[in-house]
């Protein structure tokens, strides 16, 4: 009974997100670059057709034999399985650099290693960093381009959203009672137990965590004063744990309550069965990550094949399996190619998902810069 209710609510929320996704959706523009005749320049290819079809792209990528990815933690949105899936499918060796790096690290590494064979080929970036660095990206449209909603991609193929996540609270049910409201987290049972995934003035996930609390406390994604105030109270109550949570700190019991993306929290249940994921009512914050190709990629064909893999049914279902919401969710659902088991396992939510706009983020950033250190100092 309870379970079926949970499932239905999940379905409602997913449809809600889909509705938000499709709002203002016009016909997907698919203006692929002119196909070159004769020799193929992989670095300027704008679609698989420029190579002469998928088979030619695969052949060109296999010839390069290598791919450099950066800042992809194996337990983040199931990237570990995606990387090994790509390697075994195409026999291309992936070098995964700085798995715990930030989006800013991805860009600075690409600039530092420009022209070298170890430079990153592809990026997976937070929106703010991606929008500030579009001049570093090579435009490319994957073969499933039309399955991606128009507002989730750049019209010229410079960048494209890959997956979204809900901000969530993970908690160890063997150590703390199940929270049902933000106020619960201020209670003595949570003393020294509540952690945020990073410093919100530095890490995108922590930033979204404060935005989510703001929504739960009656604020908005842009006006986050109430969110910051909540963490101030949490600190005053002695409940705020200033530890950067990882899989290791969670499984060892150091961080029994963690604010993080659902796709980071949910997979931990596999190792720690008492680990539960909670998304507060009417505080559903969703945020997309952005996929782009480094225009100076040392392995341009492999980079393009990686994009094709991520947006294939296989790649998108692997994101879904990692509790991330893949950008082609709706198209795959209507085509019947969605992994139903994984879709049903997405965390339950009630309320309409909020996707913060750029101006929301700018406003929240300015407020955090001035007030965060004071609130928790």
């Amino acid at each position: 009974m309870n379970r079926s209710l949970t499932r239905r609510l999940t379905g409602v929320a997913v449809i809600g997100l889909a509705a938000a996704t499709f709002a203002a959706c016009s016909a997907p523009s698919s203006s692929s670059g002119s196909s070159t005749s004769g020799s193929v320049n992989a670095a300027s290819a704008k679609s698989a057709a420029d190579f002469g079809g998928m088979d030619a792209l695969v052949a060109a990528a296999k010839k390069e034999g290598k791919l450099n990815v950066i800042a992809l933690p194996p337990n983040w949105a199931n990237y570990g399985e995606i990387i090994s899936g790509f390697e075994s499918k195409y026999g291309i060796k992936i070098t995964s650099d700085q798995p715990d790096g930030s989006s800013a690290d991805e860009i600075s590494t690409a600039q530092r290693l420009k022209g070298q064979s170890t430079a990153p080929d592809v990026f997976d970036l937070g929106t703010a960093v991606a929008m500030a660095n579009t001049s570093m990206f090579a435009p490319y449209e994957v073969s499933t381009w039309s399955d991606i909603p128009a507002e989730r991609k750049d019209a010229n193929g410079v960048w494209v959203n890959d997956y979204a996540g809900y901000m969530s609270v993970g908690y160890d049910s063997s150590k703390v009672p199940a929270p049902t409201s933000m106020a619960d987290l201020l209670k003595p049972a949570f003393k020294g137990k509540v952690a945020l995934n990073g410093d919100p003035t530095q890490a995108g996930a922590a930033f979204a965590g404060v935005q989510m609390v703001s929504l739960a406390e009656g604020g908005t994604a842009g006006d986050i004063a109430k969110g910051v105030d909540f963490f101030k109270q949490l600190k005053a109550a002695g409940n705020f744990l200033p530890v950067d949570p990882t899989e290791a700190t969670i499984t060892s019991g150091q961080t029994p309550v963690v604010f993080d993306w659902a796709y980071n929290n949910a997979p931990i249940s596999k190792q720690l069965t008492s680990w539960k994921v909670w998304i507060p009512d009417n505080a559903v914050l969703a945020s997309y990550y952005i996929q782009a190709i480094n225009k100076d990629a040392p392995h341009p064909a492999a980079a393009r094949l990686w994009e094709e893999y991520l947006y294939s049914t296989e790649g998108q279902n692997l994101f879904l399996k990692g509790a991330a919401f893949p950008v082609e969710y709706d198209a795959m659902k209507s085509a019947g190619t969605l992994d139903a088991t994984a879709a049903a396992a997405l965390p339950a939510v009630t309320g309409t998902p909020v996707v913060p706009s750029q101006s929301d983020n700018d406003q929240a950033t300015a407020y955090l810069k001035a007030n965060w250190a004071k609130a928790i100092g």
Binding site: S102, G126, K193, T201, Q202, A373
Partner: protein, 295 residues
């Protein structure tokens, strides 16, 4: 002395093997000191539209988190340098009185050599595993009925971080101060006593003045050692960036606040200024002490 007039006669710009010998030194300092300093100082004054003072003035605007971090960095460095210097000096004296070449002395000096370099993530892990929320000592103390306040103190810059810093400051002091203490000759003490001086007279009039300049020098070394420490603090403190090196880290790697690299350089420049002030104080103390000793 005899060579001096000949050198003058040949002129100052003769090609010399001696000059060639220092080329690696100057090349090294250029690459690892001069160029980074220039990058920092120039970058601190560059904005989107060329030259600007905004990077620096922005740091010191009213209610700036950076000013707090700078104050906290200085307090942390000064407190751990003073405590480290006092405890380390006493230990160094104790070790110097042990039998030369004996087991105690060799053990303590080699242990200090290791501990003085024990920092960063490894040290942070050791402390978290011992005193963190689920640390071993926290559990033992809780089982004994002693509350340690959920173990959160270890993450505070003015509690846990001070303790952790002292863990490498004290051994470092022992190592750098030991040669000075060992320079004290037993004959000086005997001479003092022969002339009717007490132990107090000896420390006040003989050993104290001799040890004062190296003591101040070592204390200032400890100050800069703590002031520039980054990895240990980074591994323990996640929230709020309470120290300057952590603020710089935030300015360079933040994925939320973008385009702050030159603000980070401005922060680094203020660190250079603080260290320069420390060096000037040291030079002043050293000159006063040596003038006094010469008399």
């Amino acid at each position: 002395m005899a060579d001096a007039p000949r050198g003058r006669a040949l002129g100052g710009l003769r090609p010399s093997g001696a000059l060639l010998g220092v080329v690696p030194f100057f090349a090294y300092t250029t690459v690892f000191l001069l160029i980074p300093t220039l990058v920092v100082v120039i970058g601190a004054f560059v904005g989107t539209g060329g030259f600007t003072l905004d990077n620096v003035t922005g740091l010191f605007s009213a209610g700036s988190a950076y000013v707090t971090a700078l104050e906290q960095s200085i307090v942390l460095s000064a407190v751990t340098a003073l405590i480290g210097a006092l405890v380390g000096a006493v230990l160094a004296y104790a070790v110097s009185t042990a039998k030369p070449g004996g087991v105690v002395k060799r053990f303590v000096t080699s242990l200090s050599g290791v501990l003085a370099q024990f920092g960063g993530v490894a040290l942070a892990f050791a402390f978290l595993a011992t005193f963190g929320g689920v640390g071993y000592m926290t559990k033992v103390l809780n089982d004994l009925g002693v509350s340690t306040g959920s173990g959160l103190w270890i993450y505070e810059w003015n509690k846990g971080l001070m303790l952790v810093y002292l863990y490498f400051q004290i051994p470092l002091m022992l190592i750098v101060f030991l040669p000075a203490v060992e320079g004290l000759r037993p004959q000086w003490r005997e001479a003092t006593e022969t002339l009717g001086g007490t132990t107090w007279t000896y420390w006040r009039r003989v050993a104290g003045p001799i040890l004062f300049p190296p003591f101040v020098g070592a204390t200032l070394l400890l100050f800069t050692n703590a002031f520039s420490a980054y990895a240990t603090a980074k591994a323990i403190v996640t929230q709020g960036a309470p120290l300057v090196p952590l603020q710089i880290d935030g300015a360079l790697t933040s994925e939320v606040l973008l385009g702050q690299a030159n603000v980070g350089r401005a922060m680094a420049m203020t660190m250079v200024v603080v260290v320069a002030v420390v060096m000037v104080i040291y030079a002043w103390v050293d000159r006063r002490a040596s003038r006094w000793l010469a008399r």
